[in-house]
């Protein structure tokens, strides 16, 4: 028996929303970053689900590139967090307001 694609899409929507809640409610910049990773994963799941639905591999190739972008994003983003921590001694996004005046 096959699982209909709408189940996968619903799961991906739920995971995406969990990521959004994490970004909006957490104050630790690293956990906010992890929530963004969760959102990227939700989108990847959608791409693979559609790839199966339309019987084509293009969606899976897209997942490849999303993963590469996620890796590059993590490298630069975590380097930014480390640099900000060395400047302010905190990663709480409430206290990182050096660009706000």
């Amino acid at each position: 028996m096959e699982i209909p694609i709408s189940y996968y899409l619903l799961l991906s929507g739920i995971l995406f929303t969990i990521g959004v809640v994490g970004v909006l409610t957490r104050r630790n910049a690293i956990v906010v970053f992890m929530s963004i990773e969760l959102m990227l994963n939700a989108v990847n799941l959608t791409l693979v689900a559609f790839s199966k639905q339309f019987n084509s591999l293009d969606g899976q190739i897209f997942v490849f590139f999303v993963m590469v972008v996620a890796a590059a994003e993590v490298a630069v983003g975590l380097a930014l967090i480390v640099a900000i921590f060395r400047l302010k001694q905190t990663v709480s996004i409430d206290k990182i307001n050096i660009m706000k005046w």
Partner: protein, 166 residues
């Protein structure tokens, strides 16, 4: 069997995702995120994408989450593990807005994917070879651009990590 596995992996993914955003200790958050990633990898296998599942574990659990744990250890965030959530209005508002987003997604999915056509033909399985054939012919240019992206990210992150305090 497949429905059981689907619901098992989905439950694990959602439960550990929720645990990730509510747990106070960032190390536990990272470990719960790894659990979510494994569940998503299981779903990829169910979706006929075994190579994507393997690569997903290699890249996310093997490299990205290692880097996350590394930074958590590097920054010594003990003082940050105490309660530091926004109380009151901002938090309630953000949860309401997330609920609205979820409702929108569900409504859209119900209306949009109710009768998607199922493409006929041989079932394509995303094996390593199939993906390689597509990647190195049709998607050749994006593949090469990817290397420039990685180059810029390695140089940028190393420069940021080197940044001296004034």
């Amino acid at each position: 069997m497949i429905p059981i596995l689907f619901f098992f992996f989905a439950a694990v993914a959602i439960a550990s995702g929720i645990m990730m955003i509510v747990h106070r200790n960032p190390i536990y958050c990272a470990l719960f995120l790894i659990l979510t990633l494994f569940a998503v990898a299981g779903l990829y296998v169910l979706l006929n994408a075994p190579f994507i599942a393997a690569v997903h574990i290699i890249v996310y659990a093997g490299a990205i989450m290692v880097l996350f744990l590394f930074v958590i250890m590097l920054l010594d965030l003990k003082s940050e593990t105490s309660r530091q959530r926004p109380g009151g209005l901002p938090r309630i508002l953000s949860i309401i807005m997330s609920g609205v987003l979820l409702a929108e997604l569900v409504l859209f999915l119900r209306s949009g994917t109710a009768n998607l056509p199922l493409v006929e033909g041989d079932l394509i399985i995303g094996s390593t070879k199939e993906i390689g054939n597509l990647l190195f012919t049709e998607y050749l240019f994006p593949f090469e651009i990817t290397s420039v992206l990685l180059l810029s990210s390695i140089i940028g992150s190393v420069i940021l990590a080197r940044l001296k305090l004034k």
